[in-house]
């Protein structure tokens, strides 16, 4: 994980990743197959070489054994030659220097000259059974008088004579260095047996070392570094017995201790182990070796080839494979870069473009002449950008329109709001006015009642006394005042009804305008499409309200007209009455006699008061009705107001939405 983070894998470019994986795919199989081939090559060379070494060492071991066998057989044969036995006895028992002695010596020498080389030996020594040295052909070899007592009593030669005696058979001595002789030598010692079966002595035949070592120094099949190591064990020390390829004077000069890390092959061989493997040789080099044990000589023999030489071809192969890999790497790298570029460049262009688009620049234009996936990608991106451009432009224009519409809607609803408020106030005024009218009517009614009472009283008074004439005058005076105030009130009412007229006009105008507005709104709503749906509903409601308002004003007109008529009637009546009252006042002096007339008149007036009274009542109730209508109108105006508020809210929201959209669109460069 940390490695991936470290090399920042996720953020590497497409070209880098493609190149990497391309290289990886090319190099990895190469590496793996190289490793496998190398492994197999090394193992099979290892195996084959050790096999070859096994065959070689076995051959050499068998050759050495054969050589030994031939020497022992020859020695046995020589030991059984009767003439030798006889001559040996003569040498033993006759006097030194005597003729028999000399003759015997001569015969043995002739015998030796012929038989010894013929049988593959170099020299000959004859001992008597007690070990006395009877005859020898080795120049400069000091054996002493008796092999068991002289300077050589502990030598390998002496040991071989003893052993030959013990086993009564030929024995091969150890290779040893003897003073006076340059190279190490060995002997095949055999008993000399007479025909009667008695031992007449021992013959020690010097083995032709060169012939023996020729077997060992045959480096056929061992390449240029191959070697044969032959060793003999003495205690814990292994002597090298035969010449080595690089060290001619190896015999007895080169050695290795048991347990040393070098000379593993020869150490194994000395224990009778016969196998092979990769080991460190006596000289300290790594070799592929196989070893064997030669029981006749008690030698270990190890045949080896330098690891480097054996593996030479494998190492060469490695070098070649390495060169191939390196050689492939450069073209592979170039190909990787080329291929990845051909893919990543168009993609990079597409990336660049889309980044610009993301940043808002829709003016970019892309075109590609390629027919592959990258070409298609670029062209598609180009088309996409063009479409986006036209779409956004369209949206921009639409929002501009919408903006204007919203603005006008806003204005309209504002106006409508004002108007409705006005209406509200107006209807409130009207309500107040009608209340006043109602109150006034009530007052009038009460006044009427009062008048009736007064009239009654007048009548009564008139009936009861003429003395009350002054009271009557007063009363007439009051009546006169009263009628004046009534008149005034009636004109007030009249005035007011005029006001109502104006108001109903206004209301009508409003209703008309509202209708218009709602129509407009409907149209605009249509234009705004789904944004305008709510709007259309509102417009419809508004229209309805406007219609209701129009109807209400018609009713008002009617009532007002009736009212006016009633008022006018009242005024007329009042005027008439006032005249009459005045006349009555003037005629007060004539009352006495005219009391009855007055009373009659008053009595005659009473039904008229009743009519007026009823008229007043009617007016009052009609004024109530107006009041109620006004209240309804106020309600309607309030609802209208609420609807207008909603409209206002909706237009605000629309305005906000348009702003948002505008804000978004503003990012684009078109």
């Amino acid at each position: 994980m940390s490695l991936l983070k470290g090399i920042n894998y996720q953020n590497r470019s497409l070209a880098q990743r493609l190149s990497f994986w391309f290289l990886f795919l090319v190099i990895t199989p190469l590496l793996i197959s190289s490793l496998v081939i190398d492994r197999i090559a090394i193992e099979s060379i290892h195996h084959k070489t050790i096999q070859a070494m096994e065959v070689n060492v076995k051959q050499k071991a068998l050759a050495l054994e054969s050589f030994a066998f031939e020497r022992t057989t020859s020695a046995a044969v020589i030991g059984r030659i009767d003439e030798l036995a006889q001559d040996a006895e003569i040498l033993q028992f006759s006097k030194t220097g005597s003729p028999e002695y000399i003759a015997a010596k001569r015969r043995i020498r002739a015998f030796s000259d012929y038989f010894v080389p013929a049988q593959g030996f170099a020299n000959l020594i004859v001992f008597c059974p007690k070990g006395y040295n009877l005859f020898q052909t080795i120049p400069g070899f000091n054996i002493g008088e008796n092999i068991f007592q002289g300077p050589l009593k502990d030598s390998s030669l002496a040991a071989s004579v003893r052993r030959s005696h013990l086993l009564i058979q030929p024995v091969i001595s150890d290779f040893s260095v003897y003073s006076g002789i340059a190279e190490p030598i060995a002997f095949t010692t055999a008993p000399i047996i007479k025909e009667d079966g008695h031992i007449a002595g021992y013959v020690a035949l010097q083995i032709d070392t060169h012939k023996l070592f020729d077997i060992v120094t045959n480096y056929d099949g061992l390449g240029s570094t191959g070697d044969t190591i032959v060793g003999a064990l003495e205690g814990n020390h292994i002597h090298i017995v035969a010449p080595m390829r690089n060290i001619q004077m190896a015999p007895f000069k080169v050695g290795v201790e048991r347990g040393d890390h070098r000379g593993i092959g020869i150490q194994h061989a000395m224990t009778g182990d016969m196998s092979g493997g990769e080991v460190i040789n006596v000289e300290g080099r790594s070799v592929l070796a196989s070893w064997a044990y030669v029981p006749t000589f008690r030698w270990g023999i190890s045949v080896q080839q330098d690891l480097n030489e054996a593996m030479h071809i494998a190492y060469e192969q490695r070098k070649v494979m390495l060169m191939v890999i390196l050689g492939i790497m450069l073209p592979a790298l170039l190909t990787a870069l080329f291929v990845s570029r051909s893919i990543s460049r168009p993609i990079a262009t597409a990336v660049e473009t889309t980044e610009k688009v993301a940043a808002g620049d829709l003016t970019v234009s892309i075109k590609s002449i390629h027919q592959d996936e990258t070409g298609k990608l670029l062209n598609a991106v180009g088309r996409m950008v063009d479409h986006l451009n036209s779409l956004i432009s369209q949206v921009r224009r639409s929002t501009q329109d919408l903006s204007i519409t919203a603005l006008s809607l806003s204005k309209m609803s504002q106006t409508q709001n004002e108007q409705v408020n006005k209406l509200s106030f107006t209807s409130t005024d009207i309500a107040n006015a009608t209340k006043l009218i109602s109150e006034t009517s009530e007052d009038l009614l009460q006044t009427m009642d009062g008048i009736t009472e007064a009239a009654d009283q007048t009548g009564t008074l008139a009936n009861t006394g003429k003395t009350a004439l002054s009271e009557l005058e007063v009363t007439m005076g009051i009546l006169s005042d009263a009628t004046k105030s009534i008149s005034a009130r009636l004109s007030h009412i009249d005035g007011r009804t005029k006001g109502i007229d104006r108001m109903t006009n206004t209301i009508n105008k409003i209703a008309d305008q509202t209708n218009l507005l709602s129509l407009n709104a409907s149209i605009e709503a249509e234009k705004a499409g789904e944004y305008g749906l709510g709007f259309a509903v509102l417009a419809r409601e508004i229209r309805r309200l406007a219609d209701q308002t129009a109807e209400a004003t018609v009713d008002i007109d009617q009532i007002v007209t009736e009212m006016r008529d009633a008022v006018l009637g009242g005024v007329v009546e009042m005027e008439q009455f006032s005249e009459k009252v005045n006349r009555s006042v003037i005629d007060a002096s004539l009352i006495g006699s005219q009391f009855t007339d007055i009373i009659n008149h008053v009595n005659a007036l009473l039904p008229q008061f009743v009519v007026v009274h009823d008229g007043m009542r009617l007016q009052s109730s009609e004024a109530h009705q107006i009041s109620d209508s006004m209240i309804e109108l106020t309600n309607s105006a309030r609802i209208s107001l609420e609807a207008l508020e909603q409209t206002t809210t909706a237009t605000h929201k629309l305005g906000e939405a348009i702003n948002v959209l505008n804000a978004e669109i503003a990012q684009f460069k078109l």
């Binding site: 195996h47 030991g79 052993r163 013990l166 009564i168 079966g197 224990t271 009778g272 029981p295």
Partner: protein, 402 residues
């Protein structure tokens, strides 16, 4: 990597025949013990993964009364790759016919008379030149010149004594008498008489089995101790027989073998430990057991080297093969198909063991035909005896040779 594939190919078991007298007159504690030693070697080989990745399956068969039949069964029915077997020469001579006929391989672990070389037999056991000659030589140097030669009346003791006579002749010794008693006879009065009359310095005995036991106890009863006249035994009585003997009969006498249990060698101690871990601390180990054990390991090494169980290849691989055995290095001589064996002279102790007192130091080469006489002479000697005994390898009735 290559070996991995090879191992997967060969998963079959290798059958190895084990043919010893487990019943009948030739059987005894030694033969069963040899089987045990061979099975130990096989177990050790299998514990290492077998040979060429294949396990070795021992096919133990009783040679009993009919070694030929048993050998035939082993080869044809049990499909053995080789047979380890026999002790007595009679068994070996019978099995020889079969292995030569079927081109199989017999590996023979016991000391014997030599005078034989079959292509189909590997002779691990010591030939007389490897054990009798040095023994006689030592006795002459240390005990005296006058030898009495006694033995059971079958081929081996006769050859032993011929070789002994040659040796005595060569080194100026003499034999005062040569006497044979029939196999399994307990009548040793004649021998005792001869000893009393001739008064030899050394008695060279190749009596076997019950005859040896009777003789030694009879000798002891006469009052003749080993100090007076030592008995030098050819390889006949070994550690596995000691329990059946009364120590006073044996103490002080000598025996020659290629191996003793008491040998102070690292390989020997380790081998004895492994044997006793498997079979029990009281078990005794003798030369033939050790030779058979070593032989199995030698054979396994040869098969591994040859990478096949095919008889000729294995034989070729065996020739020249060496093995660090408990006794020393045992090598198979390429020219004679016999083995290089060490020589030890041992003395019986009073606590039922054999103490090695002298050795020839390093292994002796095998000479199935001693060079004291020609091959022709040796062969005719053997054949004459064979015919003399009505075509048997042992004498039918009492017969003495003066």
């Amino acid at each position: 990597m290559l070996r991995f594939w090879k191992e997967h190919e060969q998963q079959e078991v290798i059958h190895l025949g084990i043919l010893h007298a487990l019943s009948g007159p030739a059987s005894g504690p030694t033969e069963n013990a040899i089987v045990d030693a061979e099975l130990l070697a096989i177990a050790e080989i299998n514990a290492q993964g077998g040979i060429m990745g294949r396990l070795v399956a021992p096919e133990v068969m009783d040679s009993g009364g009919d070694p030929e039949k048993a050998a035939r069964a082993l080869i044809s029915e049990r499909k053995v790759s080789a047979i380890f077997g026999c002790h007595m020469s009679i068994c070996r001579k019978a099995v020889r016919n079969i292995v030569e006929e079927q081109n199989s391989l017999l590996i023979y672990p016991a000391p014997y008379e030599g005078l034989e070389s079959s292509r189909n037999i590997i002779y691990l056991g010591a030939t007389p030149n490897q054990v009798i000659t040095p023994a006689v030589n030592w006795a002459l140097e240390n005990k005296g010149k006058r030898f009495l030669l006694i033995g059971s009346d079958f081929i081996w003791p006769h050859m032993v004594n011929e070789i002994a006579k040659d040796a005595l002749m060569a080194i100026n010794g003499e034999w005062v008498g040569e006497l044979y008693i029939p196999l399994n006879s307990e009548v040793t009065t004649q021998i005792i008489e001869l000893i009393k009359t001739k008064k030899p310095d050394v008695i060279l005995s190749s009596l076997v089995g019950i005859s040896a036991k009777s003789f030694l106890s009879a000798l002891q009863e006469t009052g003749i101790t080993a100090h007076d006249i030592p008995v030098l035994m050819a390889p006949s009585i070994s550690e596995t027989d000691l329990d059946t003997y009364s120590p006073k009969d044996l103490v002080g006498h000598y025996v020659a073998w290629s191996y003793f249990e008491a040998l102070n060698r690292e390989e020997n101690q380790a081998f004895i430990k492994r044997f006793r871990d498997r079979y029990g601390v009281d078990r005794r180990i003798n030369d033939i057991m050790q030779a058979a054990y070593s032989g199995i390991h030698l054979w396994a090494k040869a098969v591994e080297r040859a990478q096949t169980i095919e008889i000729n290849q294995v034989r070729q691989a065996l020739l020249g093969m060496s093995y660090q055995a408990p006794e020393g290095i045992i090598s198979i001589d390429a020219t004679t198909q016999h083995a290089w064996r060490s020589f030890y002279l041992g003395q019986f102790t009073k606590d039922k063991s054999i103490q090695p007192i002298w050795t020839a130091e390093y292994p002796i080469s095998p000479l199935p035909y001693p060079t004291t006489r020609t091959k022709t002479i040796w062969d005719s000697l053997e054949i004459n005896l064979y015919h003399q005994w009505n075509d048997h390898w042992y004498a039918p009735l009492t017969k003495t040779v003066q």
